[in-house]
Structure formats: structure tokens, C-alpha cells
């Protein structure tokens, strides 16, 4: 299963990569770990004429703390997120979520930036990224801009990134350990049929849901219903709103009705787990 022919370029800086994107426009695709792009190219769903490999830009791979937030470079692998001591201590939701992605080999190669810009509706990261109210940096010919998580996911496989921009960094806040990610996965691929991330604090909870709708979403009805209540009854009542206002996806793996059901069940479980931590 060979992809169509393409030209390959390997820039050594973000500026060089942006210049290449500007030059080639829609003919070009950015390659990081390749675990979304290469399967699409093998099926010829994607046939870029130019592939810009940013996988060797050393300044894009890091996890570091600065002023109450943790900054993660775009080409940081899922495995690095999963095992990062800093994230495990200070933003455990992201490490916990990364441990659920694909398998050992996929986590060794796939990157957080690549996964986010691909915006597969069943990918894991969007749920915690929304619940953490992460910030995402995009760099293009007009310079750098920061997009909030709730503005980033636009629709199925579509994000706020422009064709001539590169995602460079994701920033997440330091949180308490009261977080959880619970998903029901499609057994062969590990992709989420319904994945729910919860970040709890004394003032309230934030809930991100992936896999259920064409794009990941904040379950604001759950958040408003539970407020600062913490009883089992309040959790049960709030979780019932996990699929309010969305049109769930239906396919051979799960009907729309079943996905909505899984969203409610996993929201209840994620709330219970986060609040017990």
C-alpha cells in the first residue's frame, strides 16, 4: 500500500517550515509523527505534492513549567506525555489520557500537535484539552497567535489552524489530582467511542467529551447542573446531561443512541473518579 509520489522537505526551523507552507499552499502537508497523515496517504485520502517533515525541529519537542502552566512542544510524543514526571505530578489528566492512546508503538511515534490538528472526532486528547481550558499556539506568516481550546475545534477534522500555519505549543494549567479520563474504546483501533475528561476544583467541574459528536465538546449542561455539589445523587443527575445539545455520530461501531448513552455513563464514572481523588 504505497502512497502517491510526493516531494519531501525537512526544514530545520519553524520559520523555514512556515516559509515552505506559504510557498506550496494547499499542495503541502505537515508531517510530524505521521500516525494520522501516513495512513490517510496510504489510502490516498490525502495526496499532498509536498510533505514538510517537522519531526527533526528540535525546538518543538519539550515539556516545561513556566508560571503556573506547563508548556508542551508540538512534536512531543504521546509516550513522552504519558511518562513525563512533571505532567504526572502537576497535570496528571494529560498523562492519564496519553496512556489510553492507541498502543505502545503508536505512542512512541504519534505527537500531541499532530493529533490535535488532525482533529479526528474519536481521538483522545481533545477531551482533556477542553476540560483543562488549554491554550494552543499557532505560528504562520503573520506571526504567532494563541487560540483557546474551545475555539480550536471547529468541525469534523477541522480546527482553527490556517493552511499556512503550524501548531507549535500547547499550554495546560497546573491542576490538583482531582481529574479523570474514562473512555469506551473501539476494540481494534483503541479510538474513543465516548471519552470523557473531568477536571474538578472546589468551585466547580469542567467536562470534555470526545468520540461522541463530529467534534469534541465541553459538556456545559453537566458543569452547570452539578455546580459545587458533590453527592452521588448530584453526579447522577448532572451526568444525564452529557449529550445534551449534540448530534451524536452513528456508524458500524456504535449507533448514535449508544454513543450518547456511553457519554452519560462515562461522565458519571469520570466525575466519581475525579471527585474521589
Amino acid at each position: 500500500m504505497y502512497p502517491a509520489n510526493f516531494d519531501y522537505v525537512r526544514p530545520s526551523s519553524v520559520d523555514e517550515a512556515v516559509a515552505l507552507l506559504q510557498k506550496h499552499g494547499d499542495d503541502a502537508k505537515v508531517l510530524a509523527g505521521g500516525h494520522s497523515l501516513i495512513p490517510a496517504m496510504k489510502l490516498r485520502l490525502a495526496q499532498p505534492h509536498v510533505v514538510i517533515d517537522i519531526g527533526r525541529i528540535a525546538t518543538l519537542s519539550y515539556i516545561r513549567e513556566a508560571g503556573g502552566t506547563i508548556a508542551i512542544g508540538a512534536t512531543t510524543t504521546h509516550s513522552e506525555v504519558e511518562t513525563s514526571k512533571l505532567l504526572r505530578e502537576k497535570c496528571p489528566l494529560l498523562s492519564e489520557t496519553a496512556s489510553h492512546i492507541g498502543d505502545l508503538q503508536v505512542r512512541n511515534k504519534g505527537t500531541i500537535g499532530g493529533s490535535l490538528v488532525h482533529a479526528d472526532p474519536a481521538s483522545d486528547y481533545p477531551a482533556p484539552i477542553l476540560a483543562l481550558e488549554a491554550e494552543i499556539d499557532l505560528v504562520g506568516p503573520r506571526g504567532k497567535r494563541t487560540v483557546r481550546a474551545d475555539q480550536f475545534f471547529v468541525d469534523l477534522l477541522q480546527t482553527a489552524i490556517a493552511a499556512d500555519e503550524i501548531l507549535t505549543e500547547v499550554r495546560v494549567p497546573v491542576t490538583s489530582p482531582s481529574v479523570a479520563y474514562i473512555k469506551t474504546e473501539q476494540k481494534a483501533s483503541g479510538f474513543a467511542l465516548a471519552g470523557v475528561a473531568v477536571v474538578a476544583s472546589p468551585s466547580g467541574v469542567r467536562v470534555g467529551v470526545t468520540g461522541v459528536a463530529p467534534k469534541a465538546y465541553r459538556a456545559t449542561a453537566v458543569e452547570q447542573t452539578i455546580g459545587n455539589q458533590r453527592t452521588a445523587h448530584a453526579i447522577e443527575l448532572a451526568a444525564a446531561h452529557a449529550a445534551d445539545g449534540v448530534e451524536p455520530l452513528g456508524d458500524i461501531h456504535a449507533s448514535a443512541q449508544f454513543r450518547a448513552h456511553l457519554a452519560r455513563v462515562n461522565t458519571r464514572r469520570a466525575l466519581e473518579r475525579a471527585l474521589s481523588r
Binding site: 510526493f6 525537512r10 500516525h35 501516513i38 495512513p39 512512541n108
Partner: protein
């Protein structure tokens, strides 16, 4: 368009001009002649094509060979040293960890990387560590036995 690629495969330097669309698994099999790495599902699910790139297990059907430029690749052919099998290979031998054998090279390479991360994994940790490798003979129980054997014997060897 061809791209010059220099890398090391099983400790031997290699240098070729290759088309960027050539996948690492086809480079290893068709250019290097190392057919121990198998092509299974071709979609990144089955893990039969697993090799180590700079010590980490990856699915070589989902990596372009040009991405591995400058890397150190280890395939199943590179595991045994001086005619002595690697502990994971020995484990598959002792515990009958294969039936048809098609998934075996990928299983072994993934297990080798798993054991560098977890020295004494539980059966559950082995199962989740190998979730990216499918055995259509469904011989998973013996495969987990084999990796457990390798973990305990590698530990013994390290203590000698």
C-alpha cells in the same frame, strides 16, 4: 525525486537514495533484504511490522524510511548475538509462544521494548504492552508466558 538516506540497521551502516514514499518496512524488506520484518495489515493495527528505531518500538508500515534517516534500526535479525538468542526469543522458544509464526517478529520486537520500560511486568502489563500486536492464531496465553519467561530470565542473567 529520491532522497539520500543514511542509517544503521542491526549495527551495519546503510546508505541509499530512495523515493520519499517508500515505507520503512518496504525499505527493510526490499532494499536491505531483511524479510524477517513482516507486512501484515498495512494499516498500523496489527504490529507484525514492529521494529526498534533508536531503541523504541514503532510500526514500520506507518513510518517513511526517510523519517528514519540517521537512526539506529533493530530488526528481528539483529537480536541474537553470536548465535545466542535474545532472552525474549528464548522465551518464545521455551514457552511455545508461536503457532504460525507470522506475528512473532513484531511480537518479539514490541516485547523487547516493553521489557526495557518494565523490568518485571505483570501478566496484565504484558497484555496491555502488546495490545498493538495481533496474533490471529490467538496464541496470546503462551505469548504472555514467553515474555514473562524472558523478564525473569533477563533479571537472573543480570544478577549473575
Amino acid at each position: 525525486m529520491t532522497i539520500p538516506v543514511r542509517l544503521r540497521v542491526n549495527n551495519a551502516p546503510r546508505q541509499h537514495d530512495i523515493e520519499p514514499r517508500v515505507l520503512l518496512v518496504h525499505y527493510l524488506r526490499d532494499v536491505c533484504g531483511l524479510t524477517g520484518t513482516h507486512v501484515g495489515c498495512e494499516t498500523g493495527i496489527c504490529g507484525a511490522c514492529t521494529v526498534l528505531v533508536d531503541g523504541k518500538a514503532v510500526k514500520s508500515c506507518t513510518v517513511f524510511a526517510v523519517q528514519a534517516d540517521g537512526s539506529e534500526i533493530t530488526t528481528i535479525e539483529g537480536l541474537a548475538a553470536n548465535g545466542v538468542m535474545h532472552p525474549v526469543q528464548q522465551g518464545f522458544w521455551e514457552c511455545h509462544g508461536l503457532q504460525c509464526g507470522y506475528c512473532t517478529p513484531g511480537m518479539i520486537m514490541a516485547a523487547v521494548h516493553l521489557l526495557t520500560k518494565q523490568k518485571a511486568p505483570t501478566r496484565g502489563q504484558i497484555a496491555s504492552g502488546l495490545r498493538g500486536n495481533l496474533c490471529r492464531c490467538t496464541g496470546y496465553t503462551h505469548i504472555i508466558d514467553a515474555v514473562s519467561y524472558a523478564a525473569s530470565h533477563a533479571t537472573e542473567a543480570a544478577h549473575v
